[in-house]
């Protein structure tokens, strides 16, 4: 790809970032006037907030690493019934509204929960509940990325190592781990950024003592209009996390190695040990990711038939339609942006790090900045979809970047030497090879769009209410019927998302199957 063409391609996502992200945030900072740069560090309370935000993000990274890698290895190496559904279901924590997820966690671990009833200790609140919430939410990022990476490790290299007498353990450290490292780093970077600017579930579970900086920024902007102080805080966080994102991309590029096309086939587990490994991996996922969701479904079923009446209300149908079309539009836009960005950023560390910007910049600051900068566009569909896509596209870009790094370069060169145009090479070689990464990115983008990241912060119109918005409307009123309606809608949302993930990723396996046969 020529340098000029790449930069031309890069201008699209960069312009998008500039218009929808950087300019609004800058506008908000300008509104605030002189920034009190040093305040966040002089105020012991704010300093503790910053330190705590970074510390809990770090702990979550370690936790997801320790739990995620072994689970991913099992999922990548063994074939068993329902495996692909496990991979789809892993992303559900992204979809469930935070408050509902918190209700699920409490139904398990809370003061009136299952564990308590069985004689265990209840977790009322505090850092443990918050860290559990973080794991519940983020484990899927690491597991999915590593599963995909391990699925692409060269089978002949593993076979060679084994033939030369390496133990499976040694094969893992010397062959599989280096191949997986860039993907793992990419996922961990996302986990860290998510937790550091965390605004959702962890907060509901942890309580106000364990609030992150983002909550402070939200309070300063939305309720106190202390824009300068908020901007200073947001810029500090931006600086700290952007350093990390840059460091990661530099490291990832150094680690990246093109992979071979001969992937390791998954086999059915044999013997007690392998079945036990599968069982333990599924148990970890069940305890960390599935249990709260199962609790929600159980609560919903327990609610009785009357609660399901909400499904036939006109408002629900409209919300369903809105969820579908907004997700479709947002995923479409996010895919275009992510693809453009990843292709343009192939050889530029800086450009690649910029794809993290939507996760790093305070969403509250951006939401209010958009209002200030484009008042005539508030509550317009274009802005709404743009905002959804903005929060969703880093997943596509990151996933594709890892995929591009791992792509064998010579295949494209062969096609070129056989006379294919660059466009044809992209369409017939690059894109098919990228397909698994693209699908994973799109699935996460869809999960982000259906989920609530954008919902609560941007202006919304009643006729644009999504399922998530409706859930929150029901939970805004007292009464058992409202609670049950919210739970039913949350279940509907999960079912729908599961279906969407299956559709997005379905042809994945079928394709592999057909290429293998060919």
């Amino acid at each position: 790809m020529k340098l000029r063409a790449r930069w031309l391609l890069g201008t699209v996502p960069l312009a998008f970032l500039l218009v929808l992200l950087v300019a609004p945030a800058a506008r908000l900072a300008m509104e605030g006037g002189q920034l009190p740069w040093s305040t966040p560090w002089q105020d012991a309370y704010l300093r503790w907030r910053i330190e705590w935000s970074l510390a809990q993000a770090l702990v979550t990274c370690v936790g997801t690493l320790l739990l995620g890698v072994p689970v991913a290895w099992v999922l990548a190496r063994f074939e068993f019934a329902g495996r692909s559904w496990v991979l789809h279901a892993l992303m559900l924590p992204f979809v469930v509204p935070n408050l509902v997820a918190a209700m699920g966690v409490l139904a398990l671990l809370g003061p009136q929960g299952v564990v308590q009833a069985l004689g265990g200790a209840a977790l009322d609140s505090g850092p443990w509940l918050l860290l559990y919430g973080n794991l519940f939410f983020n484990l899927c990022l690491v597991v999915r990325a590593c599963t995909e990476a391990l699925g692409q490790v060269s089978a002949s290299r593993i076979a060679a190592a084994r033939t030369l007498g390496a133990t499976p353990w040694r094969v893992f450290w010397r062959v599989e781990w280096p191949a997986m490292a860039p993907w793992l780093l990419s996922a961990l970077c996302l986990v860290f950024l998510y937790c550091a600017s965390g605004f959702g579930l962890a907060l509901v579970l942890g309580g106000q003592e364990y609030a992150t900086v983002e909550v402070e920024i939200y309070t300063l902007v939305a309720h106190e209009l202390e824009l300068a102080q908020a901007a200073a805080l947001a810029l500090w966080m931006l600086g700290l996390t952007a350093g990390l994102a840059l460091g990661y991309t530099a490291l990832a590029r150094g680690l990246a190695a093109p992979q071979r096309a001969d992937t390791v086939p998954r086999r059915r587990p044999q013997g007690v040990g392998q079945w036990a490994a599968v069982a333990v991996a599924l148990l970890v996922l069940a305890l960390v990711c599935a249990a709260p969701l199962v609790a929600i479904v159980a609560k919903t079923l327990h609610a009785g038939a009357a609660a399901w009446g909400v499904l036939w209300e006109a408002g629900t149908l409209q919300a369903l339609w809105n969820s579908l079309r907004f997700t479709l539009m947002a995923v479409g836009l996010a895919t275009l942006l992510g693809l453009s960005h990843a292709l343009a950023a192939r050889r530029s560390t800086l450009l690649r790090a910029l794809a993290f910007l939507p996760l790093v910049l305070s969403p509250v600051a951006v939401a209010f900045g958009l209002l200030l900068l484009y008042p005539q566009w508030t509550a317009s569909l274009a802005l709404l979809v743009g905002a959804y896509a903005l929060l969703a596209y880093p997943f596509v870009a990151q996933s594709l970047a890892a995929g591009l790094d791992a792509m064998p370069r010579h295949l494209g060169q062969v096609a070129r030497s056989l006379g294919a145009s660059p466009w044809r090479v992209f369409w017939r070689v690059t894109l098919p090879l990228l397909r698994p990464a693209l699908r994973r990115g799109m699935a996460f983008a869809a999960a982000t769009a259906v989920g609530e990241f954008a919902v609560t912060l941007f202006l919304s119109r009643p006729e644009w209410a999504t399922l998530t918005t409706r859930v929150y409307e029901y939970l805004g009123r007292p009464g058992a019927a409202n609670r049950d309606a919210a739970l039913v809608l949350a279940c509907l949302l999960m079912a729908l998302a599961l279906l969407a993930f299956a559709v997005i990723e379905s042809t994945n396996d079928a394709m592999k199957e057909s290429t293998r046969r060919a």
Partner: protein, 341 residues
Amino acid sequence: MRPHFFAPWFAVLLACSAAHAAAGELRLLTHASFAVPQPLLAQFEKEAGVTLRITKSGDAGEMLNKLILTRANPVADVVFGIDNVLAAKALAAQVLAPLEGTAPASAEALAGALPDTLAPVDYGYVTLNYDKAWFAKRKLALPQSLDDLAQPAYAKLTVVQNPATSSPGHAFLLATIGALGEEQAFAWWGRMRANGLKVVKGWSEAYYTEFSHNGGSRPLVVSYATSPAAELFYAKTKLAEPPTGSLTLRGAVFRQVEGAGLVAGGRERAAALRFVRFLQSAPVQQALQTEMWMYPATRGVARAEALRHAPEPSRSDTPPAQAIADKGADWVRRWTQVVLK
């Protein structure tokens, strides 16, 4: 790289520029809890000859701040949901235009609660709610005063919302100051902190994850006087009485009066005024009682049957409007200092 690749981008650009925007459109800005039945809104649109574009924007405090930030280029023509806590801030920021014409008479008790630029639409009381089953099971007496709540017997039983992020939380803080005075009130908050007070971000978190009635561990939650009636209304099986109750402790009752007003610099002035009066009209006043669970502000509107289980507190601890205007923000900062830092 050929130009084909950019083709999808042109489609996106076209789609974006196609969206927009309308004459004869009345823009309403309101908070997330706004609820008026669709047929009534449709009827208003027909009679006023405008299309109503409703924008919901977080909670009331957040909504007002959005209005203030965009006052040079208003995003709405009419606003609903500015209450007696926020009214002074709205006045100071000059985001409201004067209301013309004659207003329907408001309930006597509401006189002077809101400035002239805000037409009273509804009112309600922020109070402590308790879980009846929990107290019956533990055979613990209900607290008789705020002081009781700070006693060891009531340790770790109360959950409140952060006044910096929640309007009922803010109202509750103001009630404690209104009754006890600033110094006494913050001393009480300090004791509450030591006694295991739980603070959460907003009403939904408090009610649905911390309140023992919904699976949490705290049988006392800051909510509204009408919440028990709503519990009965939305019960799954017919109950004789609500499963929760409202306490009217001294220092824990805040009367919130919500108003509607015209946005300074907004368009469609006549329709906007008409919408304000529409909110004060009998059909809306009747409907809002069980839609938003507030009492009607217009005099002579019949009480909904469902509100029979929500007796109005006979008094409230609301501080004077001027004091809220002058010191409201300082109090929230001081609260953060005392309870969270």
